[in-house]
C-alpha cells in the first residue's frame, strides 16, 4: 500500500527535476531545507531522522540535490522526505514537506480493533514493516 504523507503524495513520484524545482521554490522563499529519513511509515511518526544538518543560507537547489543523492545512496531502501522550514516571525514552522524516496515494497498497515469497556472499540494501525527491527524493515529488497 502506497504511503501518502505530505505534499504531492497522491501524485506519481516526483522526478529529480521536479524535486529540484520544488526545492528551488523553497529556497527562493527563504526557507531552510532539510532532508529526513525513516523506516517507520506510521502516520503518527512525525519525528524522522535528519540527514545532516538543516541547510540554511543556500541559494541554489544543486547543493540539496547533492545531499539527497548521498542520502539515497545510504538509505535508498527507506522513506526520505524534504521539508522546508520557515523561520520568519509568526510562522516558525515547517511550510512544506514531501516524500522524495520510498521503499520498493510497501507492505501497508493492519487495523487492530480492541474491545474495551462497555461496547467501545479502540482502533490502532500497525505497519507490517514495523514488526521487524529498525534498520531491517526493508533491507531484503
Amino acid at each position: 500500500m502506497r504511503m501518502t504523507q505530505g505534499c504531492f503524495s497522491f501524485l506519481p513520484d516526483l522526478t529529480d527535476e521536479q524535486i529540484a524545482a520544488q526545492v528551488q521554490y523553497c529556497l527562493d522563499k527563504g526557507w531552510a531545507v532539510n532532508i529526513e529519513f525513516t523506516d517507520d511509515p506510521h502516520p503518527r511518526n512525525t519525528y524522522w531522522e535528519m540527514w545532516g544538518l538543516p541547510m540554511f543560507d543556500l541559494r541554489d537547489a544543486a547543493g540539496i540535490m547533492k545531499e539527497l543523492a548521498d542520502c539515497r545512496r545510504v538509505y535508498g531502501d527507506r522513506y526520505v522526505r524534504i521539508s522546508g522550514f520557515d523561520s520568519s516571525h509568526g510562522w516558525e514552522s515547517v511550510r512544506i514537506s514531501f516524500i522524495v524516496n520510498r521503499p520498493r515494497e510497501e507492505p501497508g498497515f493492519r487495523l487492530d480493533r480492541q474491545e474495551s469497556v462497555g461496547r467501545n472499540i479502540r482502533y490502532s494501525t500497525h505497519a507490517y514493516a514495523a514488526t521487524r527491527p529498525e534498520g531491517e524493515r526493508y533491507a531484503d529488497q
Partner: protein
C-alpha cells in the same frame, strides 16, 4: 534555461545574425560597465572579453545544433596587494550571472578558517557546507595558499583541498571557484597541488597600477565620496604617489584608499579648527594641498617603514 535550450535544439539554424545575438545577451553593456568602473587591469578585461565571446559562440553553436560543452570557468587571481583581486572576484559573479554561466550570481567569500576544521572529521562537513552555499554562484577563496601547510603533515587543509577538487571537477555547471592570493605564494601552492592548477582554466595575473592609474583611482574614489582635489592638492597627490610607491609595504589601490581616508581626516580637522565662519558645500568638498602635504610620507625618506601618516 534547459527548456529554452531544448526549444532551440528542435530547430537547428543555418545562419545566425551575430550582431543581434550580441545585443540580445547584453554583453556589450557588461563590458562597457567593466571598462568604466575598473581602471587599468588590462589582462583581466581581456580575459572577461574572451569568456564573453566564448559564451556567445556557444549560444550560436547551440542554435545550430552543434556539440557544446560547458566551459571550465574556475579562475585563479594572482597579484600584489591592492591590485583589485577581491574587487574583480566580487564583480565576476555578477558578470558570469548576466552572461548566463552561473544561475544565481551570488558570491560566497571564504578564507581558510571557513573551510578547514579544527579536529578530525570536522573539515569535510565544513567544506561541504560552504560548497553547498556557493552552489549556483561563485565561491571566492581569498588567500588560497593558506589552505596548504606543508610544514604540518597532519594539517586538515589537504582534506579541504581534496573535497574542493572533487566538486570543482564534478559540478562544473553548479559553481565557479575563484582562488586569489599573492603571486609567489600561489605559485608555491600550485606546485604542491598540481591537481589544482590543471583544474583551473583561467590563471589571471593582476599587474601593478601605474602612477597615472593610481591618481585616476584616487579621483574616482573621491568622486564617489563627493570630495575633490583642488588643482594644487592634485599636484601634491601626484608627488605623494611617487613618494609612497618607493616606501615599503606599498599596496597599490589599498594604500591610496588609506591615504585618502587620512587626508579626509586632516581636511575635517582643518575645517573644524576655525569655528567662526560659514561653510559652503564647496568648502567641505574640496581637499587642499595642505591636507595632502601634511603626510609623513613626504618627511620620511625612501625606506621608512609602514603606512605613512
Amino acid at each position: 534555461m534547459t527548456q529554452t535550450q531544448e526549444q532551440i535544439r528542435e530547430t537547428p539554424l543555418e545562419t545566425v545574425d551575430l550582431r543581434h545575438e550580441f545585443a540580445d545577451l547584453g554583453i556589450g553593456a557588461v563590458l562597457d560597465q567593466l571598462d568604466s568602473e575598473l581602471i587599468g587591469l588590462k589582462p583581466v578585461k581581456t580575459r572577461i572579453r574572451e569568456i564573453a565571446s566564448l559564451l556567445l559562440v556557444e549560444r550560436i553553436r547551440q542554435k545550430m545544433a552543434l556539440a557544446t560543452t560547458f566551459p571550465t570557468l574556475h579562475m585563479s587571481f594572482t597579484g600584489n596587494p591592492g591590485t583589485g583581486k577581491t574587487t574583480v572576484a566580487l564583480r565576476m559573479a555578477g558578470i558570469l550571472h548576466r552572461l548566463g554561466f552561473v544561475r544565481r550570481g551570488h558570491v560566497i567569500s571564504v578564507t581558510r578558517d571557513d573551510l578547514v576544521g579544527q579536529y578530525i572529521g570536522h573539515t569535510a562537513p565544513k567544506t561541504k557546507e560552504i560548497l553547498k552555499k556557493a552552489m549556483g554562484g561563485v565561491l571566492f577563496i581569498d588567500e588560497a595558499y593558506y589552505l596548504y601547510r606543508p610544514e604540518n603533515e597532519r594539517d586538515y587543509g589537504q582534506e579541504a583541498i581534496e573535497i574542493l577538487l572533487q566538486v570543482m571537477e564534478q559540478q562544473r555547471e553548479d559553481l565557479v571557484v575563484i582562488l586569489a592570493g599573492y603571486g609567489d605564494r600561489m605559485e608555491k601552492f600550485f606546485q604542491s597541488n598540481p591537481g589544482f592548477r590543471s583544474r583551473i582554466a583561467h590563471h589571471i595575473d593582476f599587474p601593478d597600477y601605474s602612477d597615472a592609474e593610481l591618481l585616476w583611482i584616487a579621483e574616482l574614489m573621491l568622486q564617489q565620496q563627493n570630495y575633490r582635489f583642488s588643482p594644487e592638492a592634485r599636484e601634491a597627490f601626484i608627488r605623494y604617489i611617487a613618494a609612497r610607491k618607493v616606501q615599503p609595504l606599498f599596496s597599490n589601490a589599498r594604500s591610496i584608499r588609506n591615504a585618502l581616508d587620512r587626508i579626509r581626516l586632516r581636511q575635517a580637522n582643518r575645517i573644524v579648527a576655525k569655528l567662526d565662519r560659514t561653510l559652503s558645500a564647496d568648502d567641505v568638498m574640496s581637499i587642499e594641498a595642505g591636507d595632502v602635504l601634511a603626510s609623513r610620507v613626504f618627511t620620511k625618506g625612501a625606506g621608512a617603514a609602514g603606512e605613512g601618516r
